[in-house]
Symmetry: C2
Subunit: 165 residues, 2 copies
């Protein structure tokens, strides 16, 4: 009974999310057009946007960790908070069907080897939380290894589940 209700609620949420994505990501503009983007296309667009936001905020952290930019405690904390926050949103970037969207570089193995993908995602979330905590101390000596570990978590998953640039 509870499971049935839960499934119904999940279906309703999924439907709302789908409708939301279509409207929110510009699908409405294409609704009667022949070149309408598929649901997969919109899901890929949303997924890639999350990763672009991740990259744009992780990059300054990486530069500081590598000594290519001076350490700025306030900046590090701001960027690390964002990276940690967005990393917790990524799980929903890979729904069933979004393996086929336009421009995706996500490998099919994400959907066929989900347990391993989920494990790497959880590791990323753990490392970015640790990075945010390290950045909050304002201590460069704590920040640097935490940023390196988070960067490694990104790379480990990209190496395994993302097609090369």
């Amino acid at each position: 009974m509870f499971n049935g209700m839960k499934r119904t609620a999940m279906r309703q949420r999924t439907a709302a999310m789908a409708a939301g994505l279509l409207v929110g990501l510009g699908g409405a503009a294409y609704s009667v057009a022949a070149d309408a983007p598929s649901m997969g296309d919109l899901q890929v667009k949303y997924r890639q946007a999350m990763y672009t936001v991740m990259a744009g905020n992780f990059a300054p952290l990486g530069a500081m960790a590598a000594g290519k930019a001076p350490f700025d405690a306030k900046e590090a904390q701001k960027r690390a908070d964002r990276v940690a926050f967005v990393s917790n949103m990524l799980n929903e970037g890979f729904p069933p069907g979004s393996d086929k969207g336009k421009g995706t570089r996500a490998k099919p193995e994400i959907w066929t080897n989900r347990a391993e993908f989920d494990r790497l995602m959880q590791d990323l979330q753990k490392q970015t939380a640790a990075l945010a905590a390290a950045a909050k101390t304002g201590d460069e000596a704590k920040f640097k290894p935490a940023a390196a570990a988070a960067g490694k978590a990104c790379k480990t998953c990209h190496d395994k589940f993302k097609t090369e640039d």
Copy 2:
């Protein structure tokens, strides 16, 4: 003296951010290519990604507020927290020079009438914070007007500063 130091620190941060964007957003892959994206292109990509993440999370809220999806307190809170968080990142999406990037639909008036743009941005941030607070109560009657007000803040700025789809 302090201002001079502050300017130097700002320049260093800006340089780090620029380098970061180039690396983080794929610029490295193009570094010797003739079709290298400009800094403006990368800034536009980052800006649009933030708005795509906003849209993907605001849309389900809009659907619930309009009665097109059943109210789900937990879902509303999660989405509202994200919308509030990302709305506080948007300010940095419009640096000087990013009025010219590839695919932008940002009107030039953002850069020529910045005070008005900043005022609307602050209003968005205020409304999304209020929405997150309303969603946290779990009370649909508090949630709905707050979501409508946040949606209106989005639309007011789009109408004034964004080229039509």
